[in-house]
Structure formats: C-alpha cells, structure tokens
C-alpha cells in the first residue's frame, strides 16, 4: 500500500547530516539495580516524524519512553528536547504528553473532564477550554460521548479519549505506549490509519512504542529496533526489512530464511559464499565487508525465492539448489511452501497465486529447484 506523502518522509531530515534533531537521546543508560534496562542508547528524532521503537518485552523500549516522559531519570547520558536539556525536569514541566498503554483515563471524570484536565492545569479560560474540548472530541469522532464516564465506553472509544486527552495541550512531542495494543485486529487496522492521519494533520512528532512489527512497518517514518536494552538498528521500514544489519533484526522483522556459509571469493564487485546447508554456492552481486574463509550468515525473505520444476540458468554456477515440497500453506493471496533441502535444512518460500485455481501449481512431494537473484539476500556478519 502506497503511503501518503508525509511531512517528515518528504524531506527525510535524517538523511541530511546538517539537520537539527528535535529529540536528541545521547548515550542514555538506565540501570535497575545491576541490570541495565537501557544500555548506552543514542538516538536522534526529527520534527514531525512518526518514530517507532520496536522490540520484544524486556527490550527496554518502554523504559526509554518513560525516561522521555520524565517518569524515570537516566542513570547516565542526556535527553534533549527541542534543544532543551531534560535532566531533572519533572514530568509536569515537560512539553510532552503521553498516551498510556492502559489509557489511564480518570475513572471519576467524564470524557470532557478527562480531556480538559491538562488544559485546566494551564489555567486557560473556561470558554477556551470548552472550545478545545469540542474540537478534540470531533477530531476523534466522539462528539456525542462527552458526558460519559470511561467505564461506559468501548475499548476503541477509550483509546480515542486517551489520544484526545494527550493531544489536548498541543504537545510538541507525543509519546504513545502500545497505542493499539488493547484493540482487536480489525479495529487496530482502522485506528492505525486514523492515527497516521491525525499525526499528519497536526504535524506533531510521535514516538510510538510497539512490539507489533506490522504496526511499526505501516505507521512509522523510521523504526528503531531494540534488543536487550540496545538499539539494534535504526532505519526506514524498507531499510529494516530489506537491508537488516544483523541476524537479530532480520529474524525479528517478518520471516526469513537464514543459512550459514563460508566466504570463498571476496572481490570488490562480488562475493561467493559456500553454504553446505543450502547445498550450493551463493553469488552476491556486490562487495561485502568480509574476509576469505570467514564464516557468516546469509538471509533471504521467503518471497524473494522462486520455485520451478525445470532447472533454471545458473550464470555464476550458484544461486540454484534443489529440494522437495514438504508442506504447503494456502493463504488465498499467496501460498507458503516449506521446502526440505538435501542437507535437511528447511526453507520457507512464498509464491503469489496469480492464476485462479491453477491446476498446474507445484504440489506436495514434488522435487523443485529454488533460485534467487544475486542481490536478493542479505549477508550478515553479526
């Protein structure tokens, strides 16, 4: 699905070395006792970005978010927002608002009072507060629900009240902790696009914490993948998916086939890797930072492998191997094949079902050839 042009992605300030970051996280470490929940993280986030912090539980993404909000102080390192050092600044003095995972709506206040809470703290005149609340209610399409208490709302409505409340003070930076985590799948997909739309309209910088890689891929301008307290990779969704920098990132995002191999040829223009697991050589059509005889890993996405009954051309005497179809999963738009190679290694291959009810499609127990382009896979050294 093509993404609508977005403020940040149009300009891509992170590609401009001279651009000034809006949020600057510098060498931040947070220790709980002896355990480092966040370990020496440095991260620049630019204005109007929708930045996703993606990671499993315990990866430190929530701790990083809580440090931005001011609920935790970094053990070392500094956080700057809009050029202002946030060390020692209390949560109630930060130009930031947060949408909590549990929504944290005040149960004894109705929707309007919840949204107005932050505005009242700024001592705005009542008429202005009422105007802003009405504006926000229409933004999240809850005009008729202003007098309801949180427990009288559905999960999706609560989520929108929480968003409206967090946006009420027009923060420069909005933190969202698993914003869609408590919603069911269908509602999540709808809300996802609404969230992006609101972010584009208001131009607010969003930092979203999520464990859901699909959510991160479809929401984010950039993604920071976190693993055990460290940033494993920062990049645009396509970079993260197509050019992972490590085994962890390749395996964490989407599904991937990973094999071990030994470098046999290391030229500036190409690399040849011998893989016993794959049962053939891998010819990589670009230079890789490696040394001959080095053991490394090669990862390829299931949709980048092609299946055929006839032996395809192998221009470099590489990138072709044989296997047997062990399992087929029919998903409608595509089918997932599990191919057993001669080495005993299993590869996952997806093929788009372009022909309706194809009687000649590859089926169980067939011997097939697998092939891929010389730049389809990623060579990973870590």
């Amino acid at each position: 699905m093509a993404k609508k042009p977005q403020l940040a992605i149009d300009t891509r300030p992170w590609r401009d070395p001279g651009a000034k970051p809006f949020v600057r996280i510098k060498n931040v470490t947070k220790k709980f006792g002896d355990v480092a929940a966040v370990n020496d993280v440095s991260l620049d986030i630019y204005k109007s970005e929708l930045f996703c912090l993606l990671g499993g539980s315990g990866s430190g993404k929530s701790t990083l978010l809580r440090m931005l909000a001011g609920f935790e102080e970094p053990t070392s390192g500094s956080i700057e927002i809009d050029g202002q050092d946030m060390t020692g600044v209390a949560p109630y003095n930060r130009p930031i608002n947060m949408m909590f995972q549990s929504y944290a709506l005040f149960p004894h206040m109705n929707v309007e009072q919840n949204i107005a809470y932050g505005l009242k703290r700024d001592h705005l005149p009542p008429t202005e507060i009422a105007g802003r609340v009405a504006e926000l209610l229409s933004l999240v399409k809850l005009q008729d629900y202003g007098k309801r208490k949180p427990h009288q709302l559905s999960g999706g409505q609560r989520q929108r009240v929480a968003l409206a409340r967090a946006l009420a003070k027009r923060p420069k930076l909005l933190l969202l902790d698993e914003p869609l985590g408590a919603l069911d799948k269908k509602l999540r997909e709808e809300t996802q696009f609404e969230l992006v739309k609101i972010q584009e309209t208001l131009g607010v910088t969003f930092i979203v914490v999520t464990h859901d890689q699909e959510e991160a891929m479809s929401l984010a301008t950039r993604i920071g993948v976190m693993n055990s307290g460290e940033i494993a990779m920062i990049g645009e969704p396509t970079d993260i998916y197509e050019f992972p920098n490590s085994k962890f990132v390749a395996g964490f995002i989407g599904s991937v086939n990973m094999v071990e191999g030994v470098v046999t040829e290391d030229e500036p223009g190409h690399v040849r890797i011998r893989s016993a697991e794959l049962g053939c050589d891998i010819y990589v059509g670009h230079g890789v930072d490696c040394a001959p005889d080095q053991i490394l890993w090669w990862a390829i996405r299931p949709e980048k492998v092609h299946l055929s009954r006839d032996r395809p051309d192998a221009p470099f005497d590489a990138n072709v191997t044989k296997g047997m179809v062990e399992e087929i999963g029919y998903l409608g738009d595509m089918s997932v094949y599990q191919i057993l190679l001669e080495s005993g290694k299993r590869l996952r291959v997806t093929q788009t079902n372009t022909v309706r009810g194809n009687p000649d499609s590859i089926t169980w127990d067939e011997n097939v050839y697998l092939t891929w382009g010389d730049s389809s896979g990623s060579v990973l050294t870590v």
Partner: protein
C-alpha cells in the same frame, strides 16, 4: 467383571445428608433457605430481641425491687393494662446533662475521627506505596496492637501520660516542668485516636493499594504538580476508603466508655459514661435504656443519610 444393573434402585441414603434433606423438604425448607436462615435467626435472637427488650424497658419507670423497673403490662381484675412512659425520653431533652453529653460525645468522636484520618491517611498511603517486601510487615505492625487486650493498652497509656509518666520524665530531662495530661480531654483524644487508628488505616489501605499508578503518572504528564494530583485524583478516588474508615472510628467512639473513664477527667462528658452512671450508680434502668435508644438514633440516622448519599453518587456514576 459384572455389568451394571441399571434397573436396580440407587442404594438408599448413599450420602449421609440425604435423609436430612428429605426431612427438610417435608417441612418445606431447602438447604439454601437454611443457610440464609442461620444468620437471620442469630441476628433475631441476639440482636433484635435484646434491642426490643431495651426499648421496652426505656418505656417504663424506675421502681425499687427486682427488676428495678415497672412492667409494661399489668393485669388488674381481668383488665390487661399497657402503660408506656415517655418521661425518660422527655427527660433527655429537658435535662441539659443529656443533651450536653450527646453533643460532647459527637464532638469528641468527630474530632478524633478527623485526627485519625489525618494521621491514618499518610500512613495508609505510605504502606500502599511501600515496596512489596515491606508492605506486609508494615501492615502487621498496624494490626499488632490487637494482640494485646484493649483495656491493657489504655492502661498503659496512663503510664505514659501521668504526672511522673514516661513523657513527663523525658521532658524533665530538659528542665521542662511536668505537663498535666491525665484526666483531660487531651488524654481522651489520645486514647481514642490511638485505639481506633487501625480501623482508619486498614480500609484506607485496601482502597489506596488498588490505586493505579498510571493515573498519577497521567496526571503529572498533563501538567499537574503532586499536590494537584493528590487533590484531583488520589483524594476523590479514595473517598470510599475515607468514608469506611471514618465510620469505623466515629461510630464506636461516640459510645466509648472505657477510654473517657480511664483517661478522662470529671469534665469529660460522654454519653457512655452517663449511661454507666444511670445504670449502676442510680440504678435507673429505664433512663439508661432511653439513653441507649437515643444514642442509636443519633448514630444510625447520620449513617443512613450518608449511605443514601453514597448510593446516589454511585448510581449517578453508573447512569450518566
């Protein structure tokens, strides 16, 4: 292995209570009715009936003899006569002693409740926010005084507050002359607050421990300083705990007898002591009974009003 003979009737009275159950059915009772009946009967026999007896006595007048009050029903030559004396109740209103004692009791109970709330709230809050491993120990410390007799603990307080007691001896070290604490209202407040503090802390604790920390963070995030967060979020959400704790202190404190008689002086006027004097010193059972019934009214009516208000608030929350 023999097959089951499905035609044979089930062995009679397999379960020991089958017979009992059948017996109950025969007189039109089910097990459920019995379970409900047990507390109902208990309350009727040991609470309602004695209360009616007291109410009955309050409508008679004192006489010398045994029992020391006139019977309500008298038979005279085949005529059954019911005599209800309202004089005891009228006396409660006309004699300033009683009105003053009621007002003084309410005042002492109210001030004690407020002090207990002011001391108990921070304690309950601290326990609720303490690390898990400390929480049970701290709660234990709150409950620990109950392991000693209430009477003994009140007596122990006299050892602290009397002329040459612990406090005055301590003050003496700094050359401060002894402070008179015993036989004053101050001592009564100390006694009541000390004795009933756990009843304030425990309901507050159970309420505050459920308070979601994310709500406090959300409030801070929206720009509220800690004091504002407390007033706007913590306090309103802990109202049920405040009401429950205050009731548990206020109600027994109104009728308190032991503390004012052990710690209070002759000027400490509380209805519990008046009742005691009426009963034992004056042997005026009817008057004492009237005092007790009036106290019940004084205590029960505000509670009922409060309960109603609380229900209304809850209904309001549910229906808006």
């Amino acid at each position: 292995m023999s097959s089951f003979d499905t035609d044979s009737p089930p062995p009679p009275h397999r379960r020991p209570w089958t017979l009992f159950e059948r017996g109950l059915k025969a007189i039109g009772l089910s097990g459920r009715a019995l379970v409900i009946a047990a507390p109902a009967i208990w309350l009727t026999v040991f609470f309602l009936v004695p209360l009616l007896v007291v109410f009955g006595i309050s409508l008679s007048v004192k006489q010398f003899g045994r029992p020391p009050y006139t019977p309500l029903l008298t038979t005279d030559e085949g005529t059954v006569q019911l005599t209800l004396h309202l004089s005891n109740y009228l006396r409660l209103f006309t004699d300033n002693l009683y009105v003053a004692a009621y007002l003084s009791s309410i005042k002492i109970a109210f001030i004690s409740t407020v002090i207990a709330l002011l001391i108990g709230y921070p304690m309950a809050y601290a326990i609720a926010r303490a690390p898990d491993r400390w929480r049970n120990i701290l709660l234990m410390l709150v409950i620990l005084p109950f392991w000693t007799s209430f009477l003994l603990r009140v007596y122990a307080l006299t050892g602290f507050m009397r002329g040459n007691g612990v406090i005055n001896n301590f003050l003496g070290l700094f050359g401060i002359p002894p402070v008179v604490m015993m036989q004053t209202d101050f001592a009564v407040y100390v006694g009541i607050v000390y004795t009933y503090l756990p009843f304030m802390i425990l309901p507050l604790y159970t309420n505050l421990v459920k308070l979601d920390g994310a709500l406090l963070e959300a409030s801070a995030d929206l720009g509220a300083r800690p004091v504002r967060t407390f007033l706007s979020i913590t306090l309103p959400l802990s109202m049920p705990g405040i009401i429950a704790g205050s009731m548990l202190v206020f109600i027994p404190a109104i009728g308190e007898f032991v503390i004012p008689s052990l710690l209070g002086g002759p000027s400490t006027l509380m209805i519990g002591r008046v009742l005691w004097d009426e009963f034992f010193a004056n042997t005026n059972w009817p008057r004492a009974a009237a005092v007790a019934i009036a106290m019940l009214v004084v205590v029960v009516i505000p509670i009922m009003l409060l309960q109603k208000a609380q229900d209304a608030v809850q209904d309001n929350e549910r229906n808006t």
